[in-house]
């Protein structure tokens, strides 16, 4: 495979043929925001945050699904792109119920990080406050649709990494939602292998491990007694 030389934001970069603009930029230390891209699975080009301007093209193109080409001139951070990205983030925050203060992912959420980086200090669009359920029927994991941005990373890792095909998308437009099998409660799924890849893939707190949410912290005081007993009496009796 040959190497291609291209310009990204005025810097000359060389990248292997067949590599995406997103990957080539990342390699060169130029960060292009994205929510739906996940290394290891295919790119749906759905979040539209990684749109870039390419010289000679009137249309904006997603960096994740555009391959590098010789002599390509890419701009990743123009005023127009920053404005569009900010609007996309605002639309996402207004679309569902993203309440950072009570979220398991507060502080390590990709949506929150992108919003901070883009300088989003308020949302200009009216919050829709939709009613979404939380599925905590699974033994180990939970799904909070209020926090879902429909990036479909969970669907893609479930199908193409784990090969289970448990997660899918149902509904259309604003009613789109992630489902388990044929819209079963997650806990009743026959196909789920409980591998947890979807939880690891999720950019927000929509998919989480049980026990991690703010309200679920439980103190294990018996553990202290165990340690004291072990130290003082040299008895290693596990707590009840």
């Amino acid at each position: 495979m040959g190497a291609k030389t291209l310009m990204i934001d005025g810097r000359q970069i060389s990248a292997a043929e067949g590599v995406s603009v997103l990957a080539a930029a990342g390699e060169a230390g130029i960060k292009i925001p994205t929510l739906c891209h996940l290394d290891g699975v295919y790119d749906p080009g759905a979040c539209r945050l990684c749109l870039v301007e390419i010289g000679g093209f009137t249309k904006l193109v997603p960096a994740c699904t555009t391959h590098v080409a010789e002599g390509m001139e890419v701009l990743t951070n123009t005023g127009r792109l920053r404005q569009y990205r900010l609007m996309i983030l605002e639309l996402l925050f207004a679309e569902r119920n993203h309440v950072c203060a009570t979220c398991v992912s507060n502080g390590h959420c990709e949506l929150q990080t992108l919003a901070c980086e883009s300088g989003m200090d308020h949302v200009r669009y009216e919050y829709r406050f939709p009613h979404w359920d939380i599925d905590i029927t699974h033994e180990r994991f939970g799904m909070d649709h209020n926090r879902c941005v429909l990036c479909t990373r969970c669907v893609r890792v479930c199908w193409h990494v784990e090969g289970a095909g448990t997660k899918n998308v149902a509904g259309r437009g604003r009613h789109s939602r992630i489902i388990t099998d044929l819209n079963l409660p997650w806990g009743e799924s026959d196909s789920c292998t409980s591998c947890g890849k979807c939880v690891q893939a999720c950019p927000t707190g929509a998919l989480f491990e049980k026990g991690a949410t703010a309200g679920e912290m439980e103190h294990d005081r018996a553990r202290l007694g165990f340690i004291v007993n072990a130290r003082e009496k040299q008895q290693w009796i596990p707590p009840e």
Partner: protein, 553 residues
Amino acid sequence: MEAAMTLHDLQQIKERELAARKPLTLRCCMAAGCMAAASQRVLEGLEAAVTSAGLRDEVEVRRVGCLKLCCEGPLVQADPDDRLYVMVAPGDAPSIVAGLKSPQASLPQADMTAAFFARQHCIVLANSGRIDPERIEGYIAAEGYLALHEVLNEATPQDAVETMVRSGLRGRGGAGFPTGIKWGTVAKSAGVKKYVVCNADEGDPGAFMDRSVLESDPHSVLEGMAIAAYAVGADQGYIYVRAEYPLAIARLQIALKQARQIGVLGSGIFESPFHFNIDLRIGAGAFVCGEETALMMSVEGKRGTPRPRPPFPAESGLWGCPTLINNVETLANVSAIFRRGADWFAGIGTEKSKGTKVFALAGKIKKTGLIEVPMGTPLRTIVESMGGGAPDGRRIKAVQTGGPSGGCIPEQHLDTPVDYESLGRLGSIMGSGGMIVMDEGTNMVDVARFFMEFCMDESCGKCVPCRAGTVQMHHLLDKIVRRKATAQDLIRLEELCDMVKNTSLCGLGQTAPNPTLSTLRFFRSEYEALLHPDPYGPAGKTGAALFPEALEK
């Protein structure tokens, strides 16, 4: 499987059919519009009247496709002078039969010399209303499948592509991509397996051109697909037709069965090595599946959502194979182009838009129905001369073309010729052919809200700008209509229109703002008149409306 079909067989079918014809015919419209007005009972009435008049040997009662003047159905066209009876009741049948032999008729008739009929130029609709869409013999008698025979025996696939390029035909689905170039790209794409797909997922509100073609002349689409398949090297075709068109589906199934039976579909067509089959795929009610990449996903049995292009279907389409996707009307033009020559076709229309275009006239207009006119016909001719203008002496305010992806063309621009470029310059598109006329009583902001609601409901939900942006734009338009919006909201709306247009993944999102943008361009004062005078909105600066109890204390 019978022996291979030959030209001789084809001519024999034609001769037998013509010899069996009775001297007089009564053609009863059996397309969806007239059937909804009970034309089945009219057909039965005509049969009974012919029998009781003892004219069985002289008169044929033929079920035909669309007779075009849909607003006055049920329609019956009768010999000897092609007179068109309108709003026929089953009880009128004896008078119609009696009229076959007299120059006078007592029943209401349409004026066949009126502009509605006189200005039509029928290529796609040439057989519509003349042949029985459920009998392949009728199509063959009207020169059907001759073009396929000629192409298979006398032209190479390259010649066929060349003919299409020379004809200048452009895609009738809306975007207007040159058909010949598309064929050439698929023909050049490397691949052992290739597909031809007919996009019959017509979903624009108010559009019924493709449905009428499929209901009236399904074989013209099959022949067009077979010629296309030969040109690009495909051996399998799919017709993706929406489930909301049960009559079109039924007629396609009959047509496919007959075509396979006589051997114009299948293997070794006309004693050539070419083999081609067509299967139907029925849509499940998603507008977005008219978008070609979503359509292919649906044909493959997956969730119908679009994917980024490139790769284009011509390189990587169905199951990764090169795929040619053409619209119904595009394919219905093909056999005529091959039968009568590319130069003949290129002589019709304008410099950049060749041939004719079928439009479905609907809305606030006297004559609604199906028309086919040469490209370049002024809009005013279509809506005022042919359509008769708005009813009740009202003035036409605007014409909407291109459905939810198009725009509203105001009255002062009605002299614009209909071609791809002229409509594009006005912020609209040719679209698939829906033409909705609005009169002076129409609230243009409400029109924009209607189309935005349509796009919001039909967005597949894959990309954020379309899924969430249409919701916000609809909300803002709704706020304006309800007089709750401020000047700030109008700015937000315009910003969102620009963003959704430029960032959405597929054509649905990229064009969803068009009806709003075009009404903002030509009817901005209507938006502004609806804005709330207080820049802070109906709640006012004090927030009194939000917290009235706070003021009472």
